[in-house]
Amino acid sequence: MSTREENGREPQRGAVGDGAPPEGWEAPRERWLSTVVRPAFGPRSVLLEVATRLLIPTILVFSVFLLVSGHDQPGGGFAGGLVASLAYVLRYVAGGRRELAAGMPMRPEALLALGLLVACATAVAPLLFGASVLEAASVTVTLPVFGKVKFASFLLFETGVFLIVVGLVLSVVSALGARMEAEEEEVRIVRARTTRFGRMRGGPR
């Protein structure tokens, strides 16, 4: 029960199961993997939580590195997207579905849509210049700190792929993991209520 009170939110029952996403998309963003909130499942692992807090920024930066370097080196949008989504999966493993929801920049469907739009738009864009689909252009500029940097138009396409992969993994995790977890929690709450108050407060629906 403590989970509910300390989170300051009533779980919205009925939202589960009829196609709605797991609750808590607007959970507070300031403190994450807070030690105050107990995860809904099992005992917590301090080691995992601390490691996750340290690792996530590094993983995300690495994923961006993979994305940017992908045009002529190993990496690219797909690999980068997988690595980035692993950061969120790690946070989910450490903190449960509320942490996952709190950590998402936007809903996975929207991420998917945005990625698809960006990728398709960059695939078609060359047609406007009389080139063929997916044709890439690149410019090399010299920047003050970085030195020579190559900008390829393909980076935009790769960004689209990146977003699609992140969106897909997040929607899989929130549909398969978080949804099940929410349902389990629901059952537990109902069971706790019936054992405490018996039939007076209404049994399981």
């Binding site: 469907e109 698809l116 739009l117 398709c120 080139a131 063929s132 689909v133 997916l134 044709e135």
Partner: protein, 507 residues
């Protein structure tokens, strides 16, 4: 030209993204999906217009030339199938929208629309792919979308059916990938035109093995006997719109792939006797299955299996007339098979199921519905003057020209199958449409007429009517369609036009 070829693949993907963004507003989602598919239809029409004379349109995506880049090719065959498929996809989408408005379906539109458009992209890419690997990618896009679609409005039965469907499809995909790897090992390329040129030097035994491997891969997807068992188990269980589109398109994409690979890559190889045996088995086993079923959807699924046999028969002849017959048969069958499943969806309104055991007197309940069933059913059975008759005559004529005892055996099997199809259809007609209606069916009709969902049901009826009309259009337009089919068949058997168009500018 570049733009035109990109349309059938890129536009549905853009539409899918839009449908995802608009998931909160069902009305906007419906409009955007319908407009997307209408654009695809328009694009396919223009493509057919440019290629109908036998031209081959090619674009090299990414600007890399043929053996290296991603080649998209549209020849008359691809353009014809693109047009027919996109029209059917559009009409089925409208039917689904009607169903959603009327509240008769438990499918989630916000999930259905994006995935349906992704399926469209996959189907179109498969028709246009100029290399084996892109063909694989097109298949996978289509199949991945279909895994999600078959589990819409989940029930225990659908989970079971989708397990079978997924496992079988994955098996064929693994074999497909193996085949691609073998071709690459042999020739060092996956570009269809390039492979066609380089396979010429390979030992004939190896070529025959590869030809058979690809026949098995696509045969599983096309549900040819003995790889057909999964289809009647999975298609009828899905919701109406899904079984309609699966029955109409997915098997036909596989038939297209068989035609493409057997004519282009393995033109000189003779596996036609194997294919004739397969054709005979598919026709006979499929239709015998249909005769013992008690559910209209399952009957239609077995009829679908059996009629794939006709296409394999025409292809095995390896003559211009035979392949032209197959192409016309493909067009006819895509339209008619989709119509049959949509009509079954309308039947389901009155009785909630499609089992022959407790349907009587549908003619009295709804004369229009009876007409909608009767016309495509006659066409399916190959009665003159419907398109099925034209298609079968074209095939049988080609068979008679080719001659040989095996071909004649297949011909006899084909005629027998046609008669048995007629029998299966009339079994449905007599049991479900004749007689006095059951009281609860009349009640259901009265309730449906009173219900607030009349607008949606009207949309469903009108789109089904449009599909019936499309079937009649295939009949009326048999002349020009067969002309295109003959042009396409000549191109296919010649192969040089395709190879030249793709390899132009290659080093």
């Amino acid at each position: 030209m570049n733009l035109m070829i990109a349309v059938p693949f890129v536009v549905p993907l853009l539409g899918a993204a839009l449908a995802l963004l608009l998931r909160r507003s069902p009305r906007a989602q419906r409009v955007s999906s319908a407009v997307t598919l209408a654009v695809v239809v328009a694009g396919a029409t223009l493509l057919l217009d440019t290629t109908a004379g036998g031209a081959v349109a090619v674009t090299q995506a990414g600007g890399w030339d043929a053996p290296l880049g991603i080649t998209l090719v549209v020849d008359p065959l691809s353009a014809l199938l693109l047009l027919v498929s996109s029209v059917v996809l559009l009409l089925v989408l409208l039917y689904a929208v009607g169903q959603d408005i009327s509240g008769l379906s438990r499918a989630m539109p916000q999930v259905f629309h994006p995935i349906y458009l992704v399926l469209t992209a996959g189907v179109c890419l498969s028709f246009m792919a100029g290399d084996l690997f892109n063909l694989f990618v097109g298949f996978e896009i289509m199949l991945t979308a279909s895994y999600a679609l078959i589990t819409q409005a989940l029930t225990r039965e659908r989970v079971r059916a989708s397990m079978i469907y997924t496992v079988v499809s994955l098996t064929s995909s693994i074999l497909f990938l193996t085949g691609i790897a073998l071709v690459y090992a042999l020739t060092g390329t996956v570009n269809l035109a390039d492979v066609a040129e380089k396979l010429g030097g390979a030992p004939p035994e190896l070529r025959a093995v590869l030809a058979l491997l690809f026949l098995v891969v696509f045969g599983i997807k096309a549900a040819i006997v003995p790889m057909h068992f999964w289809l009647p188990d999975s298609y009828p269980v899905a919701i109406t719109r899904i079984s309609a589109i699966f029955a109409a398109l997915l098997t036909k994409v596989a038939v297209y792939a068989i035609i493409r690979t057997q004519t282009l890559l393995f033109a000189g190889d003779d596996i036609s006797s194997v294919m004739l045996w397969i054709a005979i088995a598919t026709m006979v086993v499929g239709i015998l299955g249909a005769l013992v079923q008690d559910d209209i959807n399952r009957i239609m699924s077995f009829v679908l299996v059996s009629h794939i046999g006709f296409m394999i028969f025409g292809l095995a002849l390896n003559t211009v007339a035979g392949i032209a017959g197959v192409l016309y048969y493909l067009v006819h069958h895509i339209v008619v098979q989709a119509t049959m499943f949509l009509v079954n969806g309308l039947v389901r309104q009155y009785v909630g199921h499609t089992s022959l055991r407790s349907i009587r007197g549908l003619t009295a309940v709804s004369p229009v519905l009876a007409l909608f069933f009767f016309l495509p059913a006659l066409s399916l059975a190959g009665m003159p003057p419907m398109s099925g008759f034209v298609a079968k005559v074209a095939l049988f004529e080609a068979g008679a020209q080719a001659g040989g005892w095996l071909v004649w055996t297949a011909l006899v099997a084909g005629v027998l199958t046609s008669l048995l199809t007629l029998m299966a259809i009339f079994r449905v007609w007599v049991r479900a449409f004749w007689g006095t209606p059951l009281p609860d069916m009349l009640e259901a009709r009265a309730e449906l007429r009173r219900g607030p969902d009349v607008a949606g049901r009207r949309v469903m009826a009108v789109t089904t009517g449009a599909m019936v009309g499309a079937g009649i259009a295939v009949t009326v337009g048999a002349g020009p369609l067969l002309e295109i089919a003959f042009t396409a068949a000549e191109d296919l058997l010649d192969g040089d036009a395709y190879i030249e168009a793709v390899m132009e500018g290659a080093t």
